[in-house]
Symmetry: C2
Subunit: 341 residues, 2 copies
DNA sequence: CTGAAAGCGCTAACAA
DNA sequence: TTGTTAGCGCTTTCAG
């Protein structure tokens, strides 16, 4: 049984498709009588507009792509959870994709050929993308980049100041009297910019405190997961001069590290204090709860969606904006022990 | 600068749009010479098909909606992570939405009017949906329901046998000698079917063991989050006759309960053993790690996607299938202590 | 194997 | 205010 079309409604109501369209979309002025007639026909046929046809006629898909590296990483899941309702509230649908942090995949997504008018814009949280990849992107694609990368002026960027935040996290540990602070998560290669900013913050904190950095305490991990934190921590504890504190580049890294510390009978924070990054929910209810850098996710989502839709709706190119989101250091049990908030 | 269309390519190549379409889609046989000409033109113009137009002509959107209650709940995030690549591998895009477990929202999504050919089918993981809501759904929408609800024959259903799994979880606790096992997460009202099946399994385990059920140990929680587990656990411990084991209706509930137990200085599992449900990653790295019912998420995703796409591709109605996915009980530290796998 | 042409269902410029 | 009509860009039937 074929779906009723605008035409069917028009025929039934004895008006033109144009008028029905006006009624459906609330355009222009329609006389009350006509409107009533049309609405009755609409009702009678149980008409629902065909979005596909509308999209084609409009030249817009009404869809926005949101792309993150991993959906099952709590930070990105929480971010997505914040973004989706906001996009939908503005009348757009959300197409979701994950890249597994694969640089080629990320680069492909923003390249010209990839899109086929399937989405009107994209919010991308890249992991491996290089500046060169960004340079080769589709210049007509409204794009908001999330995370630790500054805009080159042609797309919007939303994120927190990672260097400052990392510096604060490490300063917190220093202020607790810790002097052998491990930095867990460095990635000193092209696709590790996010990690490198945290390392920069780590160095900055030491510098400001007039303390030297023990390079051997800066540990690399392939990713920012629990297993990475666990593996790194185990290695650190096997050294003759283990650290008395850990700055994990994500809360998952911190949780993995804590897991190993407790397994080895060490106390957190008494023996080793740990601070993480992201403020995911897991860290709030773990034992001990995890001190962390808490980026304001609502603000990030709000800003990203707002920037993107503004750009889509204004069509033509707009100059890229840099939007720096506030963050806070949340001190929980993993650094200040029981009685922490 | 307007995008090149099929027509432009045809003009440049000196053939008809029909032929270009054939080449682009690999349809029919095209003579090598013609093909070469067309491909050159394609290349030259950097042509990319307009998906919107193609969709309209095909009467299909090439999109699948995947709807879960909460994106930031690890179980659903992990499920989504498993589903998305599989859908994309079959050439479809994924539209994601979350319902916040709101029954009205869920019911609306499967109602006739909601869709506008925007998606060709839906995978829905309902929380509050009633049988009546399901009865009122759009009969033409290919639908796969995930979770604890049996099919009425007109849609597919994929899930594990919750009663059996819950029974096994509780039997595990009984086999460890526990006799005062709390069940945390019951929801004895219309929208709590999922919870009720777990409770049924809890009862069944006792029945099989020939043991009575202490009704006061079956505790209700509004949701299955950490905070619910924590709150319930606190109340249980305030009783004069606290439990010696807990069956949490999700791993989050279990983690929340463990958190409170440790805070109060109790040992897990020595004083109180805890088992959860879902096998989320958090439970594997927490201290102690959480024993749990592990549904086979890959199989769930695989089955759901396969059923849905099969239905979409075969168009006409197919009889609904019930697909029962295997699960396992994973005994970790929260029940068997250190040395657990 | 390829061309001509009729839609898919909706929007919107142009008329009336 | 409302009707007429020409697309949006692609697919596909029917000829040739």
């Amino acid at each position: 049984m074929a779906e009723p079309t605008l035409r069917d409604v028009a025929l039934l109501a004895g008006v033109s498709p144009r008028t029905v369209s006006n009624v459906v979309n609330g355009y222009a002025q329609v006389s009350p009588q006509t409107r009533a007639k049309v609405e009755k026909a609409l009702e009678q046929l149980d008409y629902r507009p065909n979005v596909l046809a509308r999209n084609l006629a409009n030249g817009r898909s009404g869809q926005v792509a949101v792309v993150v590296p991993y959906l099952d990483t709590p930070y990105f899941a929480e971010l997505l959870q914040a973004i989706i309702p906001r996009v939908r509230a503005r009348g757009f649908n959300v197409l979701v994709d994950q890249t597994d942090g694969d640089r080629a995949h990320e680069a492909e997504l923003i390249r010209r050929k990839a899109r086929g008018f399937l989405y009107d814009g994209m919010i991308l949280s890249p992991l491996g993308l290089s500046q060169a990849d960004l340079a080769g992107r589709d210049p007509d694609l409204p794009l908001v980049i999330l995370g630790e990368r500054s805009s080159d002026g042609a797309f919007d960027h939303v994120g927190i100041d990672d260097v400052a935040a990392s510096c604060e996290a490490v300063t917190h540990l220093l202020s607790l009297g810790r002097r052998r602070i491990a930095a867990v998560g460095d990635q000193p290669y092209a696709t590790g910019e996010a990690a490198q900013r945290r390392t920069a913050g780590y160095r900055l904190a030491h510098e400001r405190a007039g303390l030297p950095v023990d390079e051997s305490l800066i540990v690399q991990t392939p990713r920012f997961n629990r297993v990475d934190g666990a593996t790194a921590m185990a290695r650190l504890l096997d050294r003759p001069d283990p650290p008395d504190a850990v700055f994990g580049y994500s809360d998952l890294v911190a949780l993995g590290a804590i897991r190993v510390l407790l397994e080895r009978g060490l106390r957190v924070p008494e023996d080793v204090a740990v601070v993480g990054y992201d403020d995911i929910e897991d860290g709030r209810y773990s034992t001990p709860s995890v001190s962390t850098i808490s980026p304001d996710k609502s603000t990030i989502a709000e800003a990203a969606v707002d920037r993107l839709l503004r750009r889509i709706e204004s069509r033509g190119p707009v100059t890229g904006e840099e939007f720096v989101v506030p963050w806070t250091l949340v001190a929980r049990e993993s650094t200040v022990g029981r009685g922490a908030p």
